[in-house]
């Protein structure tokens, strides 16, 4: 056992070594590490036909304490599934593989049950995730009881700009922005260290959405690790430290938020750059074509069909995620 005991510092050191790349990006020790996460689910077609639909086809990312990482992907790209996978709440017909680690240990089974609602919190999309028959205050408190919890509730609500009467409102009486803040408050009240926030319900007023995002930023500034899943890259860049970009179910780039500047010279993946350049402020050049389904691009670079730099090798094999200029990228010929 002596050997084992001796090995611990060595492992520790190597882990620190691994995260030093992230340190270069401004991250502390990773709270959440996701490696090669794949999620598929069974779909029943006509008759008794079953087919497997691949939703996530390889997601790698990490979130450190005090850091807000945004995963940007188009709607319907399986972002919510990622949130549910981290929380261990995938539906019964879903299968997942790859590794999810929390504070260095695999996140599954008993550990997951113990951490959920305490160190681990989900901030879901919006008001439909609140029990329609329970008052907002009660929901934000969750399983916590007593006068102490009550006063903490009051404090947290006012910190996120919720009026005192909000405690007594039912979900249908809350505006979209308020509901979102109640959900963020719930995470803060539970004493979460890692918060996975699904994007706010589409259709929320822009100003309110920004306020709700600011609440997440405050959580990160308070020491939480926050993973924000969103389709809105502009909004994400306003609050995020780092950005992971999702394309056809794969993470294709991991970049610092500050890399999104100018004409995108510091970005690594052609898709990320195209995304950046399509924004009105950066030239408004939309990218023609659509994302393939993950299955269609199982053995090639998923972006090959739309990539200006595509080479024959890009269609013959799938590039792996690799460290590149202080970030990560999934491309054979990164810039």
């Amino acid at each position: 056992m002596a050997i084992g005991a001796k090995r611990v510092p060595a492992q520790e050191a190597s882990r620190r070594g691994a995260s030093s790349e992230e340190a270069a990006l401004g991250a502390a020790a990773p709270l959440l590490e996701i490696e090669g996460l794949r999620v598929s689910f069974l779909q029943y077609g006509r008759g008794l036909q079953r087919r497997t639909v691949q939703a996530l086809a390889g997601v790698d990312l990490s979130v450190g304490a005090g850091e807000l990482v945004a995963l940007v992907g188009s709607s319907g790209s399986g972002k919510s599934l990622l949130a549910h996978a981290v929380m261990g709440l995938l539906p019964d017909n879903a299968r997942s593989s790859g590794s999810i680690r929390y504070a260095g240990e695999p996140l599954d089974g008993e550990r997951l049950l113990r951490l959920r609602g305490k160190e681990l919190a989900l901030v879901p999309q919006g008001v439909t995730y609140l029990d329609p028959l329970l008052r907002a205050g009660e929901q934000a408190l969750g399983r916590q009881r007593g006068p102490q919890a009550r006063s903490r509730l009051r404090a947290v609500f006012s910190r996120f700009g919720l009026p005192e009467r909000a405690e007594r409102l039912y979900p249908h009486q809350l505006s979209g922005g308020m509901a979102r803040k109640v959900l963020v408050s719930a995470a803060a009240l539970g004493g979460a260290r890692l918060v996975v926030a699904d994007e706010p319900t589409p259709g929320m007023e822009a100003g309110k959405a920004a306020e709700a995002l600011q609440a997440l930023r405050e959580l990160a500034d308070g020491g939480c690790g926050v993973l924000l899943l969103t389709h809105d890259i502009e909004a994400a860049l306003r609050v995020a430290d780092r950005v992971a970009v999702l394309y056809a179910g794969e993470a294709v780039e991991l970049a610092a938020a500050s890399d999104f500047a100018g004409a995108g010279e510091r970005l690594r993946h052609p898709y990320t750059r195209a995304l950046w350049q399509a924004l009105p402020a950066n030239g408004f050049r939309p990218l023609p074509g659509v994302q393939p389904a993950p299955e269609e691009a199982a053995a090639s670079c998923a972006f090959a069909a739309r990539c200006g730099q595509a080479a024959p090798e890009c269609r013959a094999a799938k590039p792996a995620m690799r460290v590149w200029r202080g970030g990560q990228v999934r491309c054979f010929k990164p810039d």
Binding site: G117, P124, G142, Y170, P202, F284
Partner: protein, 359 residues
């Protein structure tokens, strides 16, 4: 005002506003306050009672049953035609039906339900007396089927897909397809005749003065009819509760609750019970008509002297005033059930409660 984003960029623009529009249109529901609500209900009740009495009267006046003959029974040969005509005149049967109907309506409006031909007592008294024993029977059956059905439904949903769920579901289908009169006879044969645990009929031991009948006796006489009657109501409540609870457990807010460490029975208590208790209660309340129908049957099989039995007698012997009174009474009873079901939603569900307050 839509943001340019990964969505648009990929040509996969989705109707982001669609969801918001949907939730906004859902807000336009029942408008108006309590006053308007109750007024509407009262109007509906009056229309219902008018329609029910008109239809019933039309049916009875075309019925082949001759009340006079039914009243005289086997003595018909010894009662001459003049005497029969006298009896008919005494009851007012010699007048045309329409006139009789309006006379009955007039009396009803002044609070007089008329006199029962077969019991020779005021209809109101007959109904009051019969209702007392029937109400006990129906209340017992109602509570029993509600409690059993509700618990079975919850147990099934919590064990979704596993053997307890399958077992409960099969039992429900079996119960739902069992004819009540057959079940009544079965219970009677097994527990009344073969085992002798329960009396085979009546509401109290025969030949005992009403004051001497104890609670235990009443309960023992009520047990089998109540059991029969409750069995009819178990399956719908159980299956409905199961379905509702499964919906709740698959909902977004249940997923969120699980993400916060809630699970199993604790999650059920906090998020499930409230949501499924209401539909179950309203289903039970709306089931008053089946309850009354079932009571007619069960009381007949067990010779239990309640409203059901009186209804059968009134029908078979052409006792028009009693029948009309009973029909009005049962319509009122069923209406009350539906009204309570509706009210329970308004009072308990915060979404409806708020709407009924804004006048």
């Amino acid at each position: 005002m839509e943001k340019l984003s990964a969505d648009i960029q990929d040509g996969r623009r989705r109707g982001a506003g669609a969801e918001a529009a949907q939730s906004a249109s859902g807000g336009e529901g029942i408008k108006g306050g309590w006053g308007l609500y109750l007024l509407g209900k009262a109007l509906r009740l009056i229309l219902l009672l008018a329609a029910v009495s008109a239809v019933t009267f039309t049916l009875v006046s075309h019925s082949p049953v001759d009340p006079v003959r039914a009243y005289i029974g086997a003595d018909i040969l010894r009662v001459g035609p003049e005497q029969q005509a006298q009896i008919a005149a005494y009851w007012g049967l010699d007048e045309p039906p329409l006139e009789r109907f309006f006379r009955w309506v007039g009396a009803l409006l002044s609070g007089d339900l008329g006199t029962s031909m077969i019991y020779r007592e005021p209809v109101a008294d007959v109904i009051a007396e019969r209702f007392a024993s029937s109400a006990l029977l129906m209340a017992a059956a109602w509570l029993l089927s509600g409690a059993l059905g509700f618990s079975a439904g919850i147990a099934a949903a919590m064990a979704h897909g596993r053997w307890p769920d399958r077992l409960i579901r099969r039992c429900c289908y079996l119960l739902a397809s069992t004819p009540p009169f057959w079940l009544a006879l079965l219970l009677l044969t097994v527990f009344g005749v073969a085992l002798g645990w329960f009396p085979i009929g009546l509401a109290a031991p025969a030949g005992m003065a009403a004051e001497e009948v104890g609670w235990l006796d009443r309960l023992r006489h009520m047990a089998l009819p109540a059991l029969t009657l409750s069995v009819v109501g178990i399956a719908p409540v159980a299956l409905h509760t199961r379905q509702k609870l499964l919906e709740v457990l698959a909902s977004d807010h249940a997923l969120y609750a699980r993400s916060r460490g809630e699970r199993g029975w604790a999650l059920l208590r906090r998020h499930g019970l409230r949501a499924v208790a209401l539909p179950a209660l309203s289903l039970q309340l709306a089931g008053f008509s089946e309850l009354f129908g079932g009571a007619v049957l069960a009381e007949q099989v067990f010779s239990y002297p309640g409203l059901g039995q009186a209804t059968v007698q009134a029908g078979l012997r052409g006792d028009v005033p009693l029948l009309m009174g009973l029909v009005l009474g049962s319509a009122l009873f069923v209406f009350a059930g539906n009204l309570l079901a509706d009210l329970s939603y308004r009072l308990v569900d915060p979404r409806l409660r708020e709407r009924s307050r804004t006048s």
